[in-house]
Amino acid sequence: MAIKYASEEWVKAAREAINKNPAYQEAAKKWEGDMYFIVEPEGGLKEKIFMYFDLWHGECRAASVVTDESAKTPAYRFWAPVGVWRQILEKKVDAVQAMMTGKLSLKGDMAQIMKMPKAASELVNSMLKFETEFPW
């Protein structure tokens, strides 16, 4: 059954999928840094959604939807309209391509991100392990 994107249930499912993905664990074994995935309003979505993921050495230690942006101070922030997130999760747009075209924005230590493209790719692959619904 499809899970509503960016819901608390979806974030938990994503965490579980990340932790069950050996390819991610291998690719991200040197990764240190938590992040916000920020879903910006578009279409029927009227308010920003902040998804928090704490990623550490190939493991997702925590994941939740955050209502107060200032509740966490993650090392990385990725933001895009919901339609772009959908294109990425439906593999219609590559995440790297989305960054290079300015559709997906990010803030954080780019040097670390530049070193670990496989980890980014496997992170997305983990989120494809279950069905996602976009109701907006």
């Binding site: 790297v96 391509q97 290079m100 075209t101 300015g102 780019m110 040097a111 530049m114 070193k115």
Partner: protein, 619 residues
């Protein structure tokens, strides 16, 4: 000497005489090689005030200590001369394989002086050099020149040559090796043409002795693997240098219609991603020892722009695409390949066409000046015709062949306001109104309007850091922050070392300074740490500046076209922005450099600190 072949060739073309000189270890320790060592020779060999196209100017080809080794992307060589575009220090750099074979032939570099009475080319075969008659290849394009030389000498010879553009003294002619790799900027091909030197063919497989070969090999492999796993490889290999077109356009800094705006509305028709996903891209290609195949092998199968070759690169799409408002990626690809065969710098050529189009739009040029052509923005056929005319200096092409600075001086009528060059060198496709630090970078670059000197578009438009400096972060693209002038200075110094080592500057994004000093130290065998790396870069940068100061450069030359200083960006993410604090930024920059704020000259104290005290009296 480890890392070097130990020999420099000196060729007096006026007397048809070749001599050899041992490479000096002291000079190598100070300037490494490549453009660093070549700049030292330029300062020593070229008299003050020499005509760039006269016999006293020197044209210097130089490899670096890492050229031809197992270091990642170590296939590069530099060409240094007094530029016929700027009248100051000129430099161009190229990859491919030619530099490796130059070193394999047994020489580190070649210094040409004089002017040959007849067209000639130089052959270096396993260390033996010979000047040959070039009558049968004079007048030929780059591809045909390569074919004829290889037919005469053998397929193993690698050729660097000029095309018809260099022969005709188009001021922005370049030198092409491996058929499509260009030592592109500053008119180095023009200087070569002025000396009636058509080509240099090299062959040889002499081994490069390394100080600690086993350690060097191990470090190089580790570094190669690091680059191979980086996002830099994924992005550059997938989309080429033109990957940046979309992002720069989104940020409102993709110069369009000769910089009248920074947003090209039809970017999806010409972007790097569009090209990368099209059938025009048939293969990817890498330079010697490079993990990244960023080169594009392209074919336009049919139609008026049918061609087969390489490119287009980001700068071609910028200059012949958005700047000229051309929506046809096929026409842009053909323009790129024509420039390769004529031996023209795509940045200066495309910019000159765009400038002429705006002059036509404003009525400064009319059909009576343009051989009947309507130089309208967006017309790909006209753009292609102009490329042919420039290379042959035919009709209106004779004017465009002079570059935008001289074109505006001849045309007058306020055209200097939108002649988009710095010091005479046309600017690359990044509008400083949308990333202010680019303005300071273009204004101060030793070559003139140039992006490669500091690669400032990496940390600005693309938000990609350089690991070869301690800090490359620019906080806000639209804010002119004098404190961040230090980032520019550090990038200039550090990336200067890449041109001296013989490696690609892209690698500065993927590997840290510590990685490079390990390779250099184990290559050459003398102490070389991070401090030495930074000092070498600063020393070479100051020497190049000192050369230009000697030739008349002042603070007033460190400026930008009026359009960028006075006309706000009309639309897009940078709407309303212009470069407003250039003077304040220059003060800060000179401060970080230890240069005189009134004159922009390196101070005697700074030169002495860098071990350049001997040149003070010669400036």
């Amino acid at each position: 000497m480890f890392g070097y072949m130990g020999k420099i060739l000196k060729v007096d073309l006026s007397k048809s005489k070749i001599s050899e000189e041992d490479i000096q270890e002291d000079a190598c320790k100070m300037f490494l090689g490549g453009s660093g060592l070549a700049t030292k020779y330029l300062f020593d060999e070229v008299p003050k005030g020499a005509d760039p196209l006269g016999p006293d100017n020197a044209l210097i080809f130089m490899s670096g200590p890492l050229t031809g080794t197992e270091s990642p992307s170590a296939g590069r060589y530099s060409v240094v001369s007094k530029s016929p575009l700027t009248g100051f220090w000129g430099e161009a750099n190229s990859g491919g394989n030619w530099g490796v074979h130059l070193k394999g032939s047994g020489v580190d570099g070649i210094i040409f002086k004089g002017i040959s009475p007849e067209p000639v080319y130089l052959v270096i075969d396993e260390g033996k050099a010979e000047i040959r008659d070039a009558k049968n290849i004079w007048g030929k394009g780059v591809a045909e020149t390569n074919r004829l030389i290889k037919e005469e000498l053998g397929e193993e010879f690698q050729v660097a040559c000029i095309g018809i553009g260099g022969e005709k003294l188009v001021r922005y002619a370049c030198i092409i090796n491996d058929l499509h790799r260009a030592a592109g900027r500053c008119g180095m091909g023009t200087v070569m043409g002025s000396k009636r030197l058509k080509a240099i063919a090299v062959r040889g497989e002499k081994a490069i002795e390394l100080a600690n070969k086993e350690v060097f090999t191990e470090i190089s492999k580790t570094n190669y693997d690091l680059v191979n796993e980086s996002m830099l490889k994924i992005t550059l290999e997938t989309y080429g240098t033109s990957m940046a077109t979309d992002l720069v356009n989104v940020r409102g800094g993709f110069p369009t219609r000769n910089w009248q705006t920074g947003v090209f509305p039809d970017i999806e028709k010409i972007s790097g991603i569009t090209f990368g996903n099209s059938e025009l891209l048939v293969d990817r290609k890498h330079c010697f020892a490079c993990p990244i195949s960023c080169g594009r092998v392209s074919v336009v199968k049919s139609g008026p722009y049918a061609c087969k070759g390489e490119g287009p690169e980001y700068e071609t799409i910028g200059a012949f695409g958005a700047m000229c408002a051309i929506e046809s990626i096929e026409a842009i690809t053909l323009a790129h390949n024509l420039c390769d065969d004529y031996g023209l710098d795509v940045v200066s050529a495309g910019s000159s066409v765009a400038f002429a189009m705006e002059c036509y739009e404003k009525g400064v040029l009319t059909k009576s000046d343009t051989d009947g052509l309507e130089l309208k923005f967006g017309d790909p056929d006209v753009m292609i015709q102009l490329v042919h005319k420039i290379a042959k200096r035919e009709g209106i092409g004779d004017l465009l062949a002079e570059g935008t600075k001289r074109m505006s001086e001849k045309l007058g009528k306020g055209t200097e306001r939108f002649a988009m060059h710095v010091k005479g060198l046309e600017m690359p496709a990044y509008d400083p109104r949308a990333a202010k630090m680019c303005g300071l970078a273009f204004a101060t670059a030793n070559r003139g309007g140039d992006h490669i000197t500091a690669y400032i578009e990496g940390p600005t438009f693309m938000d990609i850091p350089f690991l070869c400096v301690e800090n490359s972060k620019i906080e806000d693209l639209l804010v002119e922050n004098p404190a961040e002038a230090k980032v520019l200075k550090d990038l200039e110094d550090s990336l200067t070392v890449f041109d001296a080592m013989g490696t690609c500057k892209f690698m500065g994004m993927a590997l840290a300074t510590e990685d490079w000093v390990d390779m250099i130290a184990n290559c050459v065998g003398w102490k070389f740490d991070v401090s030495d790396f930074r000092k070498a870069g600063e020393r070479i940068y100051n020497l190049a500046r000192a050369f230009s100061v000697r030739e008349g450069l002042t603070r007033a030359d460190d400026s930008l076209p009026k359009r960028l200083l006075e006309e706000p960006m009309p639309e897009g993410a940078a709407k309303g922005h212009k470069v407003e604090k250039l003077d304040e930024m220059l003060d800060a920059y000179y401060g970080f450099r230890g240069w005189d704020k009134k004159t922009g000259e390196p101070t005697p104290e700074k030169l002495r600190e860098l071990g350049l005290g001997a040149i003070i009296a010669k400036m």
